[in-house]
């Protein structure tokens, strides 16, 4: 009897093992990594012409204008080419893409683009000015990306290779915005609106191959690309939501490239086969104070808070040192920034002095610091810094959407969060001008002079004069301590060290066309 039960146990275990082994054996060679990964892990990459890239979320759509996330933007920009490529750091001239040249009229109202005549879409059709007009109009009507073509009134196409954009008023950031527009095929759209979204056809270096919802998007180099076929032939974007899994998959060589969080670096360090790259970003982490509420309506209190926070400490504790300390809302590589604009440094004594001048007797109850869960660690650091100068705050953590509701409706005292106002420096108006109270002007700051400076910057075509206006804006913003900006978190990429990525553009929409295996 005893023997039988032991036999039964053995049989169960054996069945379990055989089951695993069997199914493993059958599917050998088609590992989850997909295109030829696994065997050639590490730096040994000779003859490799495919790349697997991890993304933390899936794409919801591949519509050229109606998208909203960074991952969607990244994949779309491999499929679709813009008129011109512009590194948004303000220091580069636009590079030709579909348009080989451009011209701005004296009054700043008309932008004329001269198109190449050898650009084709992935379905073989030639790209003409009609497609550009169609795409620009698609953006004008889009709730998602309409902001890229602000000011555009109408598009004229005198011939197949000329596009003239008429603006309703001079708008200096127009060029940068219009360079973000994905040029899509009008004929393809008219053939099938469904395919237009689900089987995108662009004129970029990669053509769309297929997609598995929730798990991957595959692309293939387009052999008719006007700048020459890409070095890497097959691209697979795989959705891996968990950072630990991403780290393991990088180490096993199942994936070659990933955007990572600072906390993941520790898992990857010491592995020579993986290289981590840091790229500057205009996104900023900041403390916002509701200037409609006392005591934050007092500039001295806001300055005191700016002096009270230890930015180096925030960067060390919350970002594992992967962020640049900066008290200016404008990042160092961005148009308008200057070393001469005031910076706030850690100075608790100065903070105490300013609080005294503001008539605040410490310890003082500053109310509640409201944060979304992912920023609660920043709030804890700030809470300690404020306590050191005699300001008490309690932390209130809310679910993200509930938090955003309170933030935009002004239902808070003080908060800490990250924000991206990318594109032209003009976008900073969202943080400072009266029109944006209720959206991104979280300080609810309203000042006629500030509003007027931003309208001047909007129409000023001369670069030096425009830089001067931004200097006034940013100096004013710092003097009045409208926000307490803490740092610019870096964008971090980890990739197989056999991969040569060339230079990453600022803001981090990378182009796989620039990648190659060493």
């Amino acid at each position: 009897m005893k023997k039988k039960t032991v036999m039964l146990l053995a049989a169960v275990l054996a069945a379990a093992l055989v089951g695993c082994g069997g199914s493993g054996g059958q599917s050998q060679g088609q590992s989850g990594g997909g295109s030829g990964t696994g065997e050639d892990a590490g730096a040994d990459s000779a003859g490799k012409d495919s790349i697997t890239i991890a993304t933390d979320v899936d794409v919801d759509t591949l519509h050229p204008s109606d998208f909203s996330t960074t991952v969607e933007h990244t994949i779309l920009s491999q499929i679709y080419d813009p008129l011109m490529f512009m590194n948004p750091d303000g220091a580069h001239d636009p590079e030709p893409r579909i348009a080989e040249d451009y011209e701005i009229s004296e009054d700043g109202m008309d932008y004329t683009f001269k198109l190449r005549d050898d650009v084709t879409f992935h379905d073989g059709m030639a790209l003409t000015s009609a497609d550009v007009k169609f795409s620009l109009e698609l953006y004008m009507a889009s709730e998602y990306q309409g902001a890229q073509v602000i000011g555009l009134e109408s598009v004229e196409t005198p011939d197949d290779t000329t596009v003239i954009c008429h603006l309703d008023a001079p708008y200096s950031p127009f060029l940068l915005g219009v360079c973000q527009v994905s040029i899509a095929s009008k004929a393809y759209y008219e053939k099938s609106e469904d395919d237009f979204v689900n089987q995108p056809v662009g004129s970029g270096p990669y053509k769309y191959v297929g997609r598995e919802k929730g798990s991957k998007v595959t692309l293939e180099a387009y052999d008719g690309y006007y700048r020459g076929e890409a070095a890497i032939k097959n691209v697979t974007f795989e959705v891996i939501p968990d950072q630990s899994t991403t780290a393991v998959a990088l180490k096993t060589g199942e994936i070659d490239f990933a955007t990572i969080e600072s906390s993941t670096i520790a898992q990857l360090s010491g592995d020579d086969a993986i290289q981590v790259e840091e790229v500057g970003n205009s996104g900023f982490t900041y403390v916002s104070m509701n200037t409609e509420k006392a005591p934050f309506d007092d500039v001295k209190v806001r300055q005191a808070i700016n002096y009270a926070v230890n930015r180096e400490n925030v960067v060390a504790v919350c970002y594992d040192d992967e962020a640049e300390v900066n008290s200016n809302i404008c990042s160092k590589d961005r148009f308008g920034y200057s070393e001469d604009q005031p910076q706030y440094t850690y100075d608790p004594e100065q903070a105490k002095k300013l609080l005294k001048e503001a008539g605040i007797t410490t310890p003082y109850d500053l109310g509640t610091i409201l944060v979304a869960e992912k920023y609660s660690n920043i709030a804890t650091v700030i809470q300690n810094d404020l306590k050191a100068v005699g300001l008490d705050v309690t932390i209130d953590v809310k679910e993200f959407n509930a938090y955003i509701d309170d933030l935009t409706s002004g239902n808070y005292d003080i908060t800490a969060l990250e924000m991206t106002l990318d594109g032209d420096s003009q976008q900073l108006e969202m943080a400072f001008t009266t029109d944006y109270i209720g959206t991104a002007n979280n300080a609810r700051y309203s000042d006629e002079e500030m509003d007027s400076l931003f309208s001047q910057a909007r129409t000023e075509a001369d670069t030096d004069a425009r830089a001067e206006i931004f200097d006034q804006i940013l100096t004013k913003a710092q003097d009045e301590a409208i926000y307490a900006v803490l740092c610019n978190p870096l964008t971090l990429y980890a990739h197989n060290s056999g991969l040569d990525c060339q230079e990453f553009p600022y803001e981090g929409i990378y182009s796989i066309y620039n990648f190659s295996w060493k």
Binding site: M1, K4, T5, L8, L9, V12, A15, A16, C20, S23, G24, Q26, S27, Q28, Q30, S31, G32, G33, G34, G38, V57, D58, D60, T61, H63, D66, S68, E143, Y144, A147, V197, N198, E212, K213, G214, S215, E238, V239, I240, P241, D242, S244, T245, V248, A249, K251, T252, E254, E399, F400, N401, A402, D405, L407, T408, L421, M430, G438, T439, A440
Partner: protein, 316 residues
């Protein structure tokens, strides 16, 4: 029997309506609106309003609810996702097969391992084998899934390099997530089977059987097991149904697109059509599974079979 099944199927209608109403209400009460969640904090209010209007989200709660139910009942249309603006059914169908396979493999393995070891443990009560099994089961029942998943990944993907660390679609990629899900369920089933068996073997009819001179084998397999299995089958049914809702932890750790991550992501994005569609889909499946479990009772227990055949009425 058929009458009983038909009646149970009809009962599903109010249950599904109730589920729909409850989920729809809760979703509508949560803060945020789809337009501002999609377009973000820097969007213009008029764009947000336009997008919400496009989704029909600007209409009052009851109108939205009845429109939704109308579409589902009259046109079998679960609507379009707010995020992707594509039919919800595509989202479900892209993920359900993964979840179904994972559930099928892990639950079958869990029931084979859990029930057989549970019986073994009960038969050998208080032996070293029994105690070992109980302790091991306790350990696996208490290990958090994400940790077990990561450890398996470190061992099989990184150290041994024989299994992929993530992905879906191939059987090989399913092994690690299946083990992760299976171990916890198997441990639970082992403990349940063991205690149910122990209770049954103390029953008087077992003593009678023994007195009649029935063999140990016959007593265990014929008399004790069938009775002990009732609570086990119930648990198995409900946990099978529940795991069709997705194993969120295993799905996240192993980057497997399944129902669990679909629903949690949709809730966070306030993608009401996706949450509703997926919930209703799962509610139908769950109700059917519970019905199958109830019918299974009849085959395990003749007393229940007699009751069903009587149209649910008690024999006077």
């Amino acid at each position: 029997m058929y009458k009983y099944v038909a009646k149970r199927l009809l009962y599903m209608i109010p249950v599904l309506l109730g589920v729909a109403f409850l989920v729809f209400t809760i979703l509508s009460l949560t803060p945020g609106d789809p337009g501002s969640i999609i377009l973000g904090i820097t969007a213009k209010p008029e764009d947000i309003a336009a997008l919400n209007a496009e989704f029909g989200y600007d209409k009052p709660f009851f109108i939205r609810f009845f429109n939704y139910i109308g579409d589902v009942v009259l046109h079998f249309d679960l609507g379009n996702s707010y995020q992707s603006r594509q039919p919800v059914i595509h989202d479900i169908m892209a993920r359900f097969p993964n979840t179904f396979l994972l559930t099928l493999i892990s639950m079958s393995a869990a029931s084979v391992i859990g029930i057989s070891l549970g019986i073994l443990s009960a038969v050998r009560q208080y032996t070293a084998l029994d105690q070992t099994l109980v302790v091991v089961a306790l350990i696996f029942a208490s290990i958090p899934g994400f940790w077990l998943g990561l450890m398996l990944m470190l061992l099989f993907s990184m150290k041994l390099g024989i299994l992929p660390s993530y992905g879906a679609g191939s059987l090989k990629a399913l092994i690690l997530p299946s083990i992760t899900v299976c171990m916890t369920s198997a441990a639970g089933l082992l403990r349940l089977t063991r205690s149910a068996m122990l209770e049954t073997v103390r029953q008087e009819y077992i003593r009678t059987a023994r007195a009649k001179g029935a063999s140990q084998k016959r007593i265990i397999w014929k008399h004790a097991l069938r009775n002990a299995l009732l609570p086990v089958v119930t648990t198995l049914g409900t946990s099978f149904g529940a795991s069709l809702g997705g194993a969120i932890i295993a799905e996240t750790v192993f980057a497997m697109p399944g129902m669990g991550t679909l629903i949690t992501t949709a809730i966070r994005q306030k993608d009401i059509p996706v949450v509703m569609g997926a919930t209703l889909f799962l509610a139908v499946l769950f109700s059917l599974i519970i019905l199958i479990v109830d019918v299974l009772y009849a085959f395990i227990d003749p007393r229940i079979k007699a009751k069903y055949q009587n149209g649910g009425k008690r024999r006077e």
